[in-house]
């Protein structure tokens, strides 16, 4: 038997949105709830094309809002279907209350989120304000950095979600990835289906074995049921890693929960997430090293569950670090939401490496490699314990 690795490679030029649609097709998804919003729309348009062409046998549900989109996939997943939906920005906000229901009911929904800024003022451009607002919804949250990774991660997300029984979202840069054409190697679809076998779940509605879902819980039960979500989400980190390794063995590509670049001997590390931030940080590492700064970069590929042990280990012995956030934690103790997460991870382990909170790329304000070189220079100059709003006219 030939393995997937031995088969002829199919490389297509795809945007991250199209890569997401191809992954959904490969995963043989049963039900897709469709509601348009920029920059997500081309995902579901492509899926609709696949369904129309007979390449994917899925039920497309045209809903009247994102609240309904999430509700529809909650219902379909409760009935045992493999489901998908996608949204961005205000759409994700409108879904918010149902996101908690999806995780509370332990439904393995997979959703793609090309991340976009929030109104007001209206912006269709990218940043991660929408994704960061879902922090405490109980969803597994990946943040991918290339169209290839979007494709691979959506397939992985189904396996993880169906193993730990939690919903998973795969976020990536709105526009800067969602609409950027790049090479994507596709897997053999039969092989993907073998990688994603259909499994029985305890929380499926079946007439022959009735259960009640979504029942009321009094104070004497609610806490335990929510703690189950906490335990499952924290425990999912191991599953995420195992599935990533298995995917690597089967298809030849794996990513880990953190991606690192030249961190081995680094004095200064920039922590980033998403394609534009990390891609530019990575280039800046080389440029900074040419200037004699021992620079390194880390990308958070998994935001929830937060890979706190790994981050802490990487930052324990460096001279200083910076976290680049493409979102503002309004009124919070730090400028950027992920900076606060990283600091908490360090504090919980008694590590006091000095850090800088960098906010950049808000509403898709252009981020340049040079900006990231500047961050390394600031760290080298001993700047710490403050928030820098980069690219802002102040």
């Amino acid at each position: 038997m030939t393995t997937a690795l031995q088969k002829a490679r199919t490389v297509l030029a795809l945007t991250s949105n199209y890569a997401a649609a191809y992954a959904v097709k490969a995963a043989d998804v049963d039900v897709v709830a469709v509601y348009p919003i920029t920059p997500q729309t081309t995902i579901v348009e492509k899926i609709a094309e696949f369904v129309d062409d007979g390449e994917l046998n899925a039920e497309l549900i045209h809903v009247e809002s994102e609240h309904s989109a999430m509700s529809a996939v909650v219902g379909a997943a409760a009935a045992g279907a493999r489901v998908f939906t996608a949204t961005s920005s205000q759409g994700l906000e409108l879904m918010h209350e149902v996101l908690h229901i999806a995780s509370g009911l332990r439904l393995p929904i997979v959703m793609a989120v090309p991340a976009r800024a929030l109104s007001a003022p209206i912006s269709i451009h990218g940043d991660y304000s929408d994704v960061m607002n879902t922090r405490d919804t109980g969803w597994i949250t990946y943040i991918a950095a290339s169209a290839q990774e979007v494709y691979d991660t959506i397939i992985q997300a189904y396996k993880v979600a169906e193993t730990v029984l939690l919903p998973a979202m795969v976020a990536y840069d709105g526009f800067l990835m969602s609409h950027t054409t790049e090479p994507v190697e596709l897997n053999d679809e039969e092989e993907v289906r073998r990688f994603l076998p259909r499994k029985d779940r305890p929380n499926v509605l079946k007439p022959e074995k009735p259960i009640t879902m979504g029942a009321f819980a009094m104070p004497d039960y609610y806490y335990e049921i929510k703690y189950q979500v906490q335990e499952a989400l924290l425990g999912s980190l191991k599953v995420i890693e195992e599935v990533d390794r298995e995917y690597g063995r089967t298809f030849g590509r794996s990513y880990g929960v953190l991606q690192t670049y030249r961190v081995e001997d680094a004095d200064y590390i920039v922590v980033a997430y998403g394609g534009a931030s990390f891609g530019n940080a990575r280039e800046a590492v080389d440029a900074a090293r040419e200037k004699g700064i021992k620079a390194g970069a880390v990308r958070l590929r998994v935001f929830r569950p937060f890979p706190a042990d790994y981050i802490a280990k990487l930052l324990a012995d460096v001279k200083a670090f910076a976290v680049v956030d493409r979102a503002i934690a309004f009124g919070g103790p730090a400028g950027g939401p992920v900076f606060a997460e990283v600091v908490t991870a360090l504090w919980m382990r008694g590590i006091d490496t000095p850090g800088l909170s960098i906010v950049h790329g808000i509403g898709q304000r252009s981020m340049y490699v040079e900006d990231f070189v500047k961050i390394f220079e600031m760290l080298k100059d001993g700047e710490k314990s403050k928030v820098v709003y980069m690219g802002l006219r102040l």
Partner: protein
């Protein structure tokens, strides 16, 4: 009574046993009790539809009330009737009366 711990509860707060609410006799909540006056009842079934606990029982048989023949009559299951009074409120002929529990 010791309540189940985290790992003893089915995930997602699902209830795996159909009809488990039978183990919760809500009749003990009642302070007012509905009394159905069969001689006034016109068999419209409105109380049966409205009762949130499904405690109005439809009994089949031959019933003659004030010279009229009926194929069924209604009774209240006081084990689960919690005394909310919706039946009495909705009854179009005031055949249900709420009286204090003794």
């Amino acid at each position: 009574m010791s309540l189940p711990k985290v790992h003893e509860i089915p995930i997602g707060g699902i209830i795996t046993e159909p009809g488990s609410s039978r183990r919760n006799p809500t009749g003990g909540w009642r302070s007012l009790k509905p009394v159905l006056h069969d001689d006034r009842c016109i068999r419209c079934r409105i109380c049966w539809m409205y009762c949130p606990e499904g405690t109005i029982k439809e009994i089949k048989g031959e019933f003659v009330v004030k010279g009229k023949k009926y194929q069924y009559k209604y009774e209240i299951d006081y084990t689960y009737c919690k005394g909310c009074g919706i039946c009495a409120h909705e009854c179009p002929v005031k055949a249900i009366e709420m009286v204090p529990e003794t």
